[in-house]
């Protein structure tokens, strides 16, 4: 589609600016069966059913190993490109998916937040809104982490069909209608926050589509992605990244990791999909020499209960974060929380690293921004980004 509409200048980024890809493990990923304390005798006491047999653990060191499906991540760990951050969470975990996810998204454990931490990141990266595709959310939903007033986010379910009023022909008529659409959606005629949001979203959709439409057209790769929804999302992210449109923040999710029952099979399927998709994604970027400025960050709203329930595990507290990329200082950070029964809180691991610490490292050391206003305070900073 060509048109007379003005589009963003794409002037906010250069090829080497740091890019973050967030992969949210929705539903509460089981920390203990992801990074397994395989030499801790209590592990097998707590997990008579829902455990990983010792001979299947992918060993990282004397204490810990990865789930057997995480071979691609183990390989990258050996190359020094994976940081595992132990025991992440916050005090008084509510063990509710929704409240927990809200807290991770907004950095507000005590009150209700309205702005997402990445929304604030995007506002800092592109204060004059020069590029409406600075942030791209891949999938049908716009995650609250990305939401902030006056911050555009392109929410792309399928990049090949992303466009407005695409059925209208001929082109002259389409351009006439889209021109009017742009005027109807102009923020000047907004009445209140909801209307302004709608207006801004319409305008961002209009200009974002024009920019993003080039991405699939210019893409070619020898990498064949595995067959899963997370692989399709990461492929879409790779296409946009490789098109050089100045996108700096990507978001996607996979799930559901809410493994109350039949966990052994379910967790295996989920992690094999995630691990293979991550491998495909980085292979694709490597092939195009475009991996150096990308860090991927994995988190989940909480870990799961230490004791299994005979088939799965219930909602817990402390969890694990993983950062992947050439910019990462590989290794393990923080402590796996004590598994002694007397040290558990209502049967859960007590997190001893605040999630905002992890964000602080990403915001300051990777993206080069002042973390205090973004994460809402000063927190210790685990050094998992290379200097």
């Amino acid at each position: 589609m060509t048109s007379t509409l003005e589009i963003g200048t794409n002037g906010t980024g250069t090829k080497d600016d740091p890019v973050i890809v967030v992969l949210q493990l929705t539903g509460g990923n089981d920390y203990m069966n992801t990074v397994i304390p395989y030499n801790d005798p209590l592990y097998r006491d707590y997990r008579p059913i829902v455990n990983v047999p010792e001979d299947e653990v992918l060993v990282l060191d004397d204490e810990f190993g990865l789930h057997p499906t995480m071979g691609p991540i183990q390989d990258m760990y050996k190359d020094g490109n994976v940081a595992i951050i132990h025991g992440v969470g916050y005090e008084n975990s509510p063990r509710s998916h929704f409240r927990s996810m809200d807290i991770w998204h907004t950095c507000e454990p005590d009150t209700l937040g309205t702005e997402g931490w990445l929304g604030r990141v995007v506002r800092e990266l592109d204060p004059d809104k020069e590029n409406v595709v600075t942030a791209v959310s891949m999938g049908p939903a716009l995650f609250r982490a990305l939401v902030a007033p006056n911050v555009p986010v392109a929410t792309v379910e399928n990049i090949d069909s992303y466009g407005l009023l695409t059925d209208i022909t001929p082109e002259e008529k389409l351009n006439r209608v889209l021109g009017r659409y742009k005027r109807m959606y102009s923020p000047a005629i907004g009445t209140g926050a909801v209307m302004d949001y709608l207006g801004q979203t319409g305008l961002d959709a209009l200009s974002g589509a024009e920019i993003l439409n080039v991405a699939p057209a210019s893409y070619s790769s020898t990498v064949e992605y595995s067959d899963s929804s997370i692989a399709r999302k990461l492929k879409g992210i790779a296409q946009v990244h490789l098109a050089g449109l100045g996108s700096r923040v990507f978001y996607c999710d996979h799930g559901s990791f809410d493994t109350h029952a039949d966990q052994v099979g379910l967790h295996t399927r989920l992690w094999s999909q995630v691990s293979q998709a991550i491998r495909d994604f980085f292979d694709d970027l490597e092939e195009h020499n475009a991996a150096d400025n990308v860090v991927m960050f994995l988190f989940s709203e909480f870990g799961r209960r230490v004791y299994d329930n005979g088939s799965g595990t219930d909602h817990g507290a402390g969890g694990v974060c993983i950062a992947i990329g050439k910019g990462v200082e590989g290794g393990q950070y923080g402590q796996f929380p004590s598994t002694k029964a007397s040290d558990l809180d209502q049967g859960d691991l007590i997190p001893d690293l605040d999630f905002r610490s992890v964000y602080t490292t990403l915001v300051e050391d990777w993206l080069g921004l002042d973390p205090v206003p973004i994460v809402g305070g000063t927190f210790e900073k685990p050094g998992f980004i290379s200097k």
Binding site: S96, R99, T111, D167, V194, T201, H260, A261, D314
Partner: protein, 466 residues
């Protein structure tokens, strides 16, 4: 000028149904508002949709099993055709509240059975609905109650019963979650026959006394050897439950509220209205039909026009009922069912047990495109009888751009929009030149120009609201 009674009727039909054509609105306005409310609340007075009409075309949907992404098509077809729209609207209400998805359950049939129970019991007592849900095989599997045993408690159902289905966060302790879960041990599925080689078998609820924890429990300040039903009775006595369900009803039928997880932190936008609904719930022993009648006849409801963002289902079903000739089960029916998912609401497959984030969170750049593209395409299809009727009404209002724009806004709502938005439509109409209804040249006749205006009307921000 638009008849105020007709505007109010349009509001009622958008909320208690899926909108209505101008012809239907005129008939209903003549019947009267309260009489229409009573008719909506008595679905048994209407001829039911004959689902076998659909199944004759799509026999595989009798038991759709795991039919990829389209198991909800029969429900979509029902919504298009129903003469009792509030009944289907309530199914949507309960599906949002008791969100259960095929991504895990893996049997559309079982979730459809749950929706059926909403269809038959939705206007009755909330306790009966909770009991039906607690014993629904789909819900039991979705929240793992088949893994909730006397000797190993699984808290999934017990927690969500309290957090999402009755009280909301902050009104119970972790101990209450545990005790509640114990009371539902042994509420399980009958032994499943192997799925293959003899096809799928329906699941059935079963109570297994040998797997039920009959011991003493301490729950929300009460002590006793409670079972699940007694737990539900205790929950329903609590004002917090009435307040929580009231807020759900308000948010679905009256005006958008913040997302559910925020309710423990943010008070209702209209606390008096929510309290009014909560009181009505308590006074009627949670009789939903009684409460809905009070809501629809209240001033706060009548005044709350265009204060809810349409759900994707409302966008698609409302459009299809408006443009007509969508009643037969056709291949298009399947693509329309998919459209609802493209807009972010894949029915029978919500993203989680929390259901969908609603209100303004329905809107993002991708979903706004899907909404606009779908509605604009349908409303410009002059071969559809509903569109032809709309065009005829507008043509009869005159040929001047002002006449045409105002008639479009009237027939498509009636919609009230800011002067600036109307001015844009008017500028566009003027740029297109005269609306000469005799000119039928393809691409430039009066009707073609008119459909261009209609496409802009359904693209308006204001059109996203119900």
């Amino acid at each position: 000028m638009t008849d105020q009674n007709l505007s109010l009727m349009a509001h009622l039909m958008r909320r208690a149904g899926f909108g209505a054509s101008r012809d239907e609105l005129e008939t209903r306005t003549a019947t009267g508002y309260e009489a229409t409310v009573d008719e909506l609340l008595n679905p048994e007075g209407q001829e039911p949709v004959d689902i076998y009409e659909f199944l004759r075309y799509y026999p595989l949907w009798w038991k759709p099993g795991t039919m990829g992404g389209l198991g909800h098509a029969p429900w979509v077809w029902r919504m298009i055709n129903t003469k009792a729209p509030l009944q289907e609207k309530l199914c949507l209400f309960y599906h949002q509240l008791f969100a259960t998805g095929v991504a895990k359950v893996d049997h559309y049939d079982e979730i459809e059975d749950m929706i059926d129970s909403f269809r038959t019991q939705g206007l009755g007592h909330y306790k009966d609905i909770l009991m039906a849900v607690a014993q629904s095989p789909a819900m039991i599997y979705w929240l793992d109650n088949h893994e909730n045993h006397a000797d190993s408690v699984n808290e999934n159902w017990g927690r969500e019963l309290l957090e999402l289905f009755t009280m909301g966060v902050g009104n119970y302790t972790e101990t209450d979650v545990r005790e509640c879960s114990r009371a539902f041990t042994g509420w399980t599925l009958k032994h499943k026959l192997p799925r293959f080689h003899m096809g799928r078998w329906d699941w059935e609820y079963e109570f297994r006394p040998e797997d039920h924890d009959f011991g003493a429990k301490s729950f929300l300040g009460h002590d006793g050897d409670f079972d699940g039903e007694e737990i539900i009775d205790i929950i329903l006595e609590k004002p917090a439950t009435a307040a929580f369900i009231a807020r759900h009803l308000y948010s679905f039928f009256v005006a958008d509220e913040p997302q559910v997880p925020a309710w423990s932190v943010i008070p209702p936008n209209d606390p008096e209205a929510v309290q009014f609904i909560a009181d009505a719930l308590m006074a009627s022993d949670y009789h939903i039909g009684t409460v809905l009648k009070k809501i629809f006849n209240s001033d706060f409801f009548k005044e709350a026009r265009f204060t809810r963002v349409k759900t994707p289902t409302e966008v698609v079903i409302g459009t299809l009922r408006l443009v007509e000739d969508t009643e037969r089960p056709l291949p298009e029916t399947m693509s329309w069912a998919s459209q609802i998912g493209f807009m972010g609401q894949e029915l029978l497959n919500p993203p989680s047990v929390e259901g969908w984030h609603s209100g303004i969170e329905w809107i993002n750049s991708g979903t706004l495109m899907k909404r606009t593209n779908f509605t604009a395409e349908m409303i410009s299809d002059r071969s559809r009888p509903g569109v032809a009727k709309i065009i005829d009404r507008i043509k009869s209002s005159g040929t001047k751009p002002e006449d045409v724009v105002d008639a479009c806004l009237d027939v498509m709502g009636p919609l009230t929009i800011p002067d600036e938005s109307r001015a844009e439509l008017l500028d566009h109409a003027r740029d297109l030149g005269d609306f000469n209804w005799e000119d039928e040249r393809p691409g430039q006749g009066g009707e073609t120009k008119l459909t261009e205006i209609l496409q802009l009307v359904v693209s308006l921000r204001e059109y996203q609201f119900a």
